[in-house]
Each structure stands twice: as C-alpha cells, then as structure tokens.
C-alpha cells in the first residue's frame, strides 16, 4: 500500500448529473475491509458512473464519498494510490509487451522496483513465459489477467471492477472469482459491477441494486442472486423506494 490506508468506504447521499441528465441520484451505502460489494442493475442504471465517482475520476454533484476519514476533495493523488480499477476496457497499451505495460504502471504508482513488480505480477497472472509478447497478441482472457494484475500492482485497499467477467471463458471467470475471494481475505475492499449474476453467485457480502440511477435496495449476504435480482427489479418497477434486506 503506497497511499492512504482506510478501513471503510462510505457513499453518502451522492448524486451526479451531466447537464440536465441525472446519472445517479442520492446513493448511500457503506462497505468495509474484507468485503465484496456488488453493484447490480440493468444497463443505464448508473453502475459505471458510480464506479467513476468511487475512482475519483468524477466529482459528485451532491453528497460525498469518504474513504475512511479521507475525502477526495482533500486527498486526490494520495488517495488514488490506494485505489485499483479494472474497467470494461482493459487500460493496456496493445503495442507494448505485457511486461512493459505492467512496468509502466508500476512506475506511475512510484513502486520502488517497477521491473521486479511487473515480473511478480506476470507470475501471479501465470503469464511469465509471455512477458515479452505484445498485449495485442493475447486472447481476451489473457489480457484480462494482465489487466487485473495492472489494477493490483500497487496493492490497493479499494479495488473497483466494471463487468470483469465479460468475454471470459468458464475457467478464466472461475479463476477471477477465486482471486477476488483471496483479495477479500487479505482485507481489500472490492466493489464489483456486473450483469453476470451466475458467475457472481456467492461472491458478494452485500449488493446494491440500482435502477435508472436510483438505489432500489441493499441486500446483505445475497443468495439466489438471479431470483433476488428479478424480485427486486420487478418491485422497483412499481414501487420506487429503497429498502434494506437481509439475504
């Protein structure tokens, strides 16, 4: 951990508007170390905007986000050192090799030995033998593994993932889910936005359900994720209120 450390993440009545369009409205939740929080909802629900807000790429139009006792307004760059992001786009340079990509990002995060950090990350990804190959020659699953290591290379306290299972085969998806469980055990705060409810089954310690930019429910230890999702979304369609459910 190279930046500020923190034990919890609190989103307090956060809204974000783009001009007159409301992307997210009055979102409130809290999560702590060693927990995986799911952001679930249909397309346009506001999941990616919420992740961008958590990543400090956007500022809330209203409300605030607290990382332990820290606030983005005060601790921008130092706070970013404690946050890792794996987006739907992989944030990798296809012309560079896997090692060059990871070494570049390790350097940006001011790690003491970027070369060694990149080599370690590639071993972790099981791609040490492909270190010198351009990322453009990798399959989607291999790129995803490199991208995950890029997001984790600075050992962030908070890991934000946007649709990380997209395009992965079953084995890669299972490996990713296993890696997320390991991160949870090591005390990371993981926030994951996904549509893939089957792959995410059993992964979440809590789940925030979003629809049209509004939070419609928060469920602790959600089980039978798909049926819970259907139930909550059909209810949200008729009753736009927020409740808290024990799974």
């Amino acid at each position: 951990m190279t930046g500020f450390d923190f034990d919890d993440l609190a989103v307090e009545d956060v809204s974000r508007h783009f001009g007159r369009r409301r992307a997210v409205s009055r979102i409130t939740f809290r999560t702590t170390r060693g927990a995986v929080l799911g952001l679930l909802g249909p397309n346009g629900a506001g999941k990616s905007t919420l992740l961008a807000l958590l990543a400090t790429l956007l500022r809330p139009s209203a409300g605030r986000i607290r990382y332990g006792t820290h606030d983005t307004a005060v601790h921008g760059p130092s706070l970013r050192a404690s946050i890792g992001v794996l987006g739907h786009d992989l944030f990798l340079y296809p012309e560079l090799t896997a090692h060059e990509n990871l070494e570049f990002f390790a350097g940006l995060y001011a790690l003491a030995d970027p070369r060694a950090a990149a080599a370690d990350a590639l071993r972790q990804a099981g791609l040490a033998d492909r270190a010198g190959d351009a990322v453009s020659s990798f399959s989607r699953g291999m790129r995803q593994r490199v991208a995950l290591e890029r997001a984790l290379i600075h050992r962030p306290r908070l890991l934000l993932l946007d649709e990380p299972f997209t395009g992965l085969d079953d084995a890669s998806a299972a490996a990713l889910a296993a890696r997320l469980r390991t991160l949870r055990e090591t005390g990371a705060i993981v926030v994951l936005a996904t549509h893939d409810l089957d792959l995410a089954e059993g992964l979440f310690d809590s789940a925030v359900f979003l629809r049209d930019g509004r939070m419609v429910d928060v469920v602790d230890r959600p089980e039978a994720l798909r049926s819970t999702y259907r139930h909550i979304m059909s209810r949200a369609h008729t009753v736009p209120s927020v409740s808290r459910t024990e799974g």
Binding site: L57, P77, Y93, P94, E95, E100, A134
Partner: protein, 225 residues
C-alpha cells in the same frame, strides 16, 4: 517524482510510436503532400514567391501537428488508457508534460524532413543559419503543441472531436503560427536583421510561457470531470 512521470509517459509514447510508426507515417505523408502541392502551384520556372517557403513550412507543420495530436489521443481513447493515466497517483500536469514532449518530439522529427524539402522545392536558404532556424521551429512547435495537447486531451471523449480540435486550436494558435512565419521569413532575407529575428523569437518564447503555464494550470481541473 514529476520528472519521473514525465519521462515514463514520454518513453511510453515514443516506444508505442516506434513500434507502430502510425503517426510518423501519416503526418509525414500528409505534410510532404501538402508541400508538394504548394510547390507545384506556386513555383514557376524555378522561381518561388518571396517568403512563400516560410508560409508553406508552417502550414505543413500546423496541419501535420493537428493530425498527430488527434491520433495520439485517439490511441489513448481506444483502450481507455487515458483513464488509467488519470487514475494513477501521479501529478496530472506531469502527464500533460509527458504527452506534450512526445508530440513535440514527433513534430520536430517530421520538421527534419520538411525543412530540407521546402528548402529544395522553394529554393529557400532555410539551412543557412541552422541554430536560428532550430530555435524558431522548436519554440513555435512547443507553442502550437502546448495548446493542442490540452485541447486534444479535453476532447478525447467528445463525439465530434475531429471537427472540434481544429476549430478550437487554430484561432488560439494563429499568433504562434504568424510569429513562426515572420521569424522564418526574416531568416530567409539576403541581409538578415538579427533584431527582427530576436523580436519574433522572443514573442514565440512569450507565447510558449503563457500557453504552457495556462495548460499546466487548467489540465487537472479539466480532466477531473
């Protein structure tokens, strides 16, 4: 840390470009075509219009520069790597300076081809005073690219970025281009007046200082939202 981030971004951009040569080929091809067209249109019986070489050189630099700026940031957009740069705890002005130096390096490399070509086709003694010419080209290129880098980064998510970039860029960089043209034209006179050259060069340095300072000041807030 600032210098280290600048170096990392610059080295990364140059490595990517050396591997693909995409921007080098496209900008050079475009700039050389531009110079050739003007040469065929304006040079008759081996005689070029007075000061024509200075204008053609800077038109080619400005057009090729706009192309390079667009492509550089298009590359960052395709894999959303600009987002990754902004997510890093590095100072954002350092990222800006790294990108700026990458573009300036590419444009200066292109100018090393353009200058002899313009000198040859327009019978212009551009290479008679290489140090003055280098100073004019580098200061002019920095002034143009400093504004261009800021706007190209700002527009990276805009749908009509290819149209908006020149629309925003040219009105603001016209003073730089005019100063570059006048300084280069002064250099082409049979009796070079050093005082005039110094004046235009000082003006270019002033533009550079103002534009780079403003860009460093505004890059972080502009890229946050």
């Amino acid at each position: 840390m600032f210098a280290r981030v600048v170096w990392l971004v610059l080295r990364k951009d140059l490595t990517v470009e050396v591997r693909s040569l995409e921007i080098a080929y496209t900008t050079l091809f475009f700039a050389v075509s531009c110079v050739l067209v003007f040469a065929f249109a304006l040079v008759h019986e081996g005689r070029a219009p007075e000061d024509g070489a200075a204008g053609i050189l800077w038109i080619a630099i400005a057009f090729a520069g706009t192309l390079a700026l667009g492509r550089t940031f298009e590359r960052e957009r395709q894999s959303e790597t600009l987002r990754a740069l902004l997510l890093a705890p590095a100072a954002r002005p350092a990222i800006y300076v790294g990108k700026l130096l990458g573009i300036v390096t590419l444009l200066v490399a292109g100018e090393m081809v353009l200058v002899p070509l313009v000198a040859l086709l327009f019978q212009a003694p551009l290479l008679a005073r290489p140090l003055w010419l280098t100073a004019i080209l580098v200061t002019g290129t920095v002034g143009f690219a400093s504004v261009g880098t800021l706007f190209a980064a700002m527009l990276v998510r805009a749908r009509s970025r290819d149209v908006l970039l020149p629309v925003l860029l040219y009105p603001i960089t016209v003073p730089v281009i005019i100063a570059g043209v006048r300084a280069t034209a002064a250099l082409l006179q049979p009796d070079v007046e050093i005082d005039i050259l110094r004046f235009w060069l000082a003006l270019l340095v002033c533009f550079d200082i103002v534009f780079v300072t403003l860009a460093l000041w505004t890059f972080e807030p502009l890229m946050t939202d």
